[in-house]
């Protein structure tokens, strides 16, 4: 029997975990039940800024079935979060609508919620700060008194010489853009189960997307030594960045479990998910940009504010990513950026897919469109003139090794029929106009070195029947990493998928990894698996060569067999070769490991440095129809050209683009968490408008497969990229159709109609 050599890279494979999920077997946090488990509920404040005068929990404590009621006074209330300015429960004052006052553990969820509703809190209201402008005004009340300012962080970045850039400019444009609150809307809401065992060790059944860091931070917040904490991730019903931070409900569950000596589960209902899970930062960006008469970009000057809300999560560091777009999306010699992350009494923002890049790219790509208008140049030609080439290093020190920006622009333009459609805005209906617009993006595609290590560990174990247990530090949050990693192992070791089991959800088993963020898993965890598998391969081929009296280089591994490399003739079963290692007196097992560290560097004090091992690019073109009488924008077609290096799993990569584009369309057209006087007034799917199936346009995907020199098989990351430039592409198309400015999202019919009326 012969087996032909066949590469799996770039082919389409259904997710390995899809049958579990499609059959209803997959166990999400909602589905988990432990013996003697209690249910927790949290009382959140209905004030946005107030001193807590008194809390009366007596009625809640008397309710049958209630096992514990805790307030800030009952626990060691350790400050946590990126700014160490949040606590699990609030004891002195509340700073935003979602603030946790007390928590209850009870025999059932309904008793717990009923008890929480019986708790009375007396407040002394403080003047609320409801906007960034108000927070920055002199004499404004302080939200965190000890910080002595409402500015949580300031970011200053520059390269080149702004004054020189101004002098070189023939045209200068300026505009201010306002980007809204939006939120993740994971279909599976947030949740946790905390359980102590008889030794006092803590198991956290969690939906975190960063389990190693989570374990370290939870140890500190909860006062449990990290070596006594095990984190087991349930099947995760969507992440998109919402599970990057620790939220108060998580330590609260631990405190309730400790207090009751029973496992405690807290799961959000949908309203809580809207109110008490993170948002994307609402951002105001003023951008000035210049160009020479021939279209060469000269400078960008950016001033922006983030509404940080009451507390500081990882989301406050999104300016790190924003400055990459400001400094390096197209070639621009002189850039100056000034950003402030400002406390208000609004809901506090967290991390969300794209991590600041949606806001920054909207501003940059809108300013490019303004420059094209001033110069009388086709926006495609202007972008091509300023697109970087492979081998360039940007002003921020970002090294563009594989760079497909030019090809993305050309591909998206060609496939969308750009030139022809750009010349026609009329339709056969006099009050309906057509438009076509484009936008590009740059995002990290090879991890992001924000910790001293940006690595990921892998352990591979082949048993006596050639079943591979692939243990990876990375996590599956629905994005398909499990399948990509299995595919890489199968490629290297010539295994069938049914021989591979991926273990990726238990910190007692898996090696360290930073976590699922920065679109890093395919690149970082993929390289880690590839290199661990190469070592296993070497060992297997050497053992097989011994057994077959052959040379390792004359052999290959295919479909679970050892074959002659030259003609694929099957020579031995792989399991038999492995068994020979321990039965045959060699006293060996096949276990290999690899910790992959990308060749990136941390940024210097001025935010310069090659922070990622690779960068992904994309251009998206949107075609829209705008009804001038109603303001309704209909997206007819979206062309997405993405440089993600070599595609590993085509089916999965397409799914990431489609899902990202539709999330981007929501940002462009319909999604907005409406915050009035600090309160979220639309906390339901009825009023927070996600894009639905009939509204999805034709999405034409083209992969521009630059081969990255460091990525696994030449691959770069994808996850966040597809959501980043959709909104500016749509806005540019609406501007093309109507001539309007459109400086704020979402482009709802009301907003479009009222702007066109002016």
């Amino acid at each position: 029997m012969r087996i032909a050599k066949q590469s799996l890279i770039g082919k389409s494979f259904p997710k390995l975990d899809a049958p579990e999920r499609a059959s209803g077997r997959a166990v999400y946090i909602q589905d988990m039940v432990l013996p003697r488990m209690l249910h927790g509920a949290i009382l959140r404040t209905d004030r946005v800024h107030a001193r807590i005068v008194a809390i009366d929990t007596s009625a809640a404590e008397r309710l049958p079935g209630v096992q514990a009621v805790i307030t800030a006074n009952d626990i060691d209330n350790v400050p946590f979060g990126h700014g160490k300015d949040n606590t699990p429960l609030k004891g002195d004052k509340v700073r935003c609508i979602r603030d946790e006052i007390t928590a209850v553990a009870a025999e059932t969820e309904s008793i717990a919620r009923e008890a929480a509703a019986l708790i009375r809190v007396e407040y002394d209201d403080l003047p609320p700060i409801l906007s960034v402008e108000q927070a920055l005004r002199g004499g404004a009340p302080l939200i965190h008194e000890h910080k002595q300012t409402n500015v949580a962080f300031t970011y200053e970045y520059s390269h080149g010489d702004l004054a020189a850039g101004e002098r070189e400019s023939d045209v200068v444009v300026q505009e201010t853009y306002r980007l809204p609150y939006v939120t993740h809307c994971c279909l599976g809401t947030s949740g946790i189960i905390a359980a102590f065992d008889a030794r006092g060790h803590l198991t956290l059944y969690s939906v975190t997307q960063v389990p190693a860091l989570y374990r370290r931070d939870m140890a500190q917040i909860c006062g449990v030594p990290p070596e006594r904490i095990r984190v087991i991730q349930a099947t995760i019903g969507g992440g998109f960045g919402s599970k990057l931070d620790i939220y108060p409900y998580e330590p609260i569950a631990v405190h309730l479990a400790r207090r009751t000596n029973r496992p405690v589960k807290i799961v959000f209902n949908r309203q809580e998910e809207f109110v008490a899970s993170p948002t994307r930062q609402p951002t105001e960006i003023r951008i000035r940009a210049g160009a020479k008469r021939d279209g060469t970009f000269t400078f960008r000057e950016i001033d922006f504010t983030h509404d940080n809300g009451g507390y500081t999560s990882w989301g406050a560091t999104t300016p790190f990513v924003m400055m990459q777009a400001f400094s390096s999306l197209y070639r621009v010699p002189h850039v100056s950026m000034h950003g402030k992350v400002v406390h208000t009494n609004n809901p506090y923002a967290g991390a969300m897919r794209g991590y600041g890049n949606l806001q920054a790219t909207f501003a940059v790509e809108s300013s490019v469109e303004l420059l094209a208008g001033e110069l009388g140049t086709d926006p495609l030609e202007l972008r091509l003139r300023n697109a970087q080439e492979p081998g360039e290093t940007t002003g921020q020190g970002i090294g563009l090794r594989a760079c497909g920006l030019r090809e993305c622009l050309e591909t998206a333009a060609k496939r969308s029929g750009w030139h022809q459609k750009r010349n026609q805005t009329a339709t056969d209906r006099p009050r309906v106009r057509r438009g076509i617009g484009m936008a590009s993006m740059l995002h990290v595609g090879g991890g992001a070195k924000i910790y001293r290590s940006d690595g990921c560990g892998t352990i591979l174990r082949l048993d006596d029947f050639a079943r591979l247990t692939l243990i990876t530090g990375s996590s599956e949050i629905g994005q398909g990493s499990e399948t990509v990693l299995a595919q890489i192992a199968a490629e290297e070791l010539g295994l069938r998928f049914d021989q591979i089991q991926v273990l990726n959800n238990d910190t007692d088993v898996k090696p360290w990894d930073v976590g699922v963020h920065a679109s890093r898993t395919t690149f970082i965890a993929g390289n880690s698996v590839r290199l661990a598998a190469r070592e296993a391969r070497k060992k297997l081929l050497s053992a097989a060569a011994d057994q077959l009296r052959s040379a390792p280089e004359e052999l290959d591994l295919r479909a679970g067999k050892v074959v002659r490399d030259a003609d694929g003739e099957v020579l031995a079963d792989l399991g038999k070769v492995i068994r020979s290692l321990h039965f045959g007196g060699k006293n060996e097992v096949v276990v290999t490991h690899h910790y992959y560290e990308p060749p990136s560097v941390m940024q210097d004090q001025g935010y310069k440095g090659d922070v990622s091992a690779a960068y992904a690019f994309a251009t998206q073109v949107a075609e829209v129809e705008v009804d001038l009488d109603t303001g309704v924008v209909k997206v007819l077609r979206l062309t997405a050209a993405h440089d993600i290096g070599r595609v590993i799993n085509r089916l999965g990569a397409e799914g990431q683009v489609q899902g990202g584009v539709v999330m981007g369309l929501g940002y462009a057209l319909s999604e907005e968490l409406q915050v009035e006087r600090g309160r979220i007034v639309n906390p339901s799917f009825r009023e927070y408008k996600l894009i639905t199936s009939p509204e999805v346009p034709e999405i034409d995907i083209a992969f521009v497969e630059t081969i990255d020199p460091e990525g696994p098989y030449g691959a770069k990351g994808i996850a966040e990229a597809p959501a980043i430039c959709t909104a500016p592409a749509v806005a540019n198309a609406v501007r093309h159709a109507t001539g309007g400015r459109f400086t704020a999202l979402p482009l709802t019919p009301e907003r479009v109609f009222s702007e066109l009326k002016q």
Binding site: S12, P14, K15, D17, A18, P19, E20, R21, A22, S23, G24, R25, A26, V27, Y28, Q30, D31, H184, C185, C186, L187, G188, T189, T235, I236, G237, G238, G239, F240, N269, R270, I477, G478, Q479, G480, L651, G652, E654, G655, Q658, G659, G660, V661, V662, M663, S684, F685, R686, L690, T692, S693, P694, V696, I699
Partner: protein, 163 residues
């Protein structure tokens, strides 16, 4: 509390329930059928879709009292007794229509009901068939493709597998 009797995934069952208890809670907590997902609890996301006498309904809004005497099918009842996935489940797997998977059981139940009514749907009908089911991961494209693939298979084959 009232006593209700109904057929659940082909088996006769009974339960004592508060009449207004959502069917979603009854199915998950009393019968362990956790494949039916709680996405919003207010009939807006479709993750809890089940079939009631063959019609797709949001089980979070359905009082348990109304199950009495009816036939209920959940995602767990779609497989054949030997564990072969239903053609709609297979189509979702193969088309890449499953990412995080939380919306998937509801999407599949909606599709099973839809394809029983429309064996040769148009693309528009397919897109509209799941307008009451939200998905945050896939952008719906591969779900629509899965529905098309299942329609083609069920249309040609004539009969459904499973129950």
């Amino acid at each position: 509390m009232i006593e209700i009797r109904f057929t659940l995934n082909g088996q006769p069952v009974s339960a004592r329930v508060a009449p207004a208890l959502p069917a979603l809670t009854l199915l998950r907590d009393s019968f362990g059928l956790t494949g039916t997902k709680p996405g919003c609890g207010e009939g807006e996301c479709g993750a809890c879709t089940i079939l009631l006498d063959g019609r797709a309904v949001n089980s979070c809004l359905l009082p348990s009292a109304l199950l009495d005497g009816r036939e209920v099918l959940t995602i767990e009842g779609l497989e054949s007794p030997s564990g072969t996935l239903h053609p709609v489940q297979r189509a979702f797997v193969e088309a890449g229509a499953v990412q995080c998977g939380f919306c998937t059981p509801g999407m599949i139940m909606r599709t099973v009901a839809f394809l029983r009514e429309r064996s040769h749907p148009s693309d528009d009908e397919i897109a509209r068939s799941i307008e009451g089911n939200l998905c945050r991961c896939t952008g719906y494209v591969k779900i629509q493709q899965a529905i098309r693939a299942a329609a083609d298979e069920l249309g040609v084959g004539g009969t459904e597998g499973g129950s």
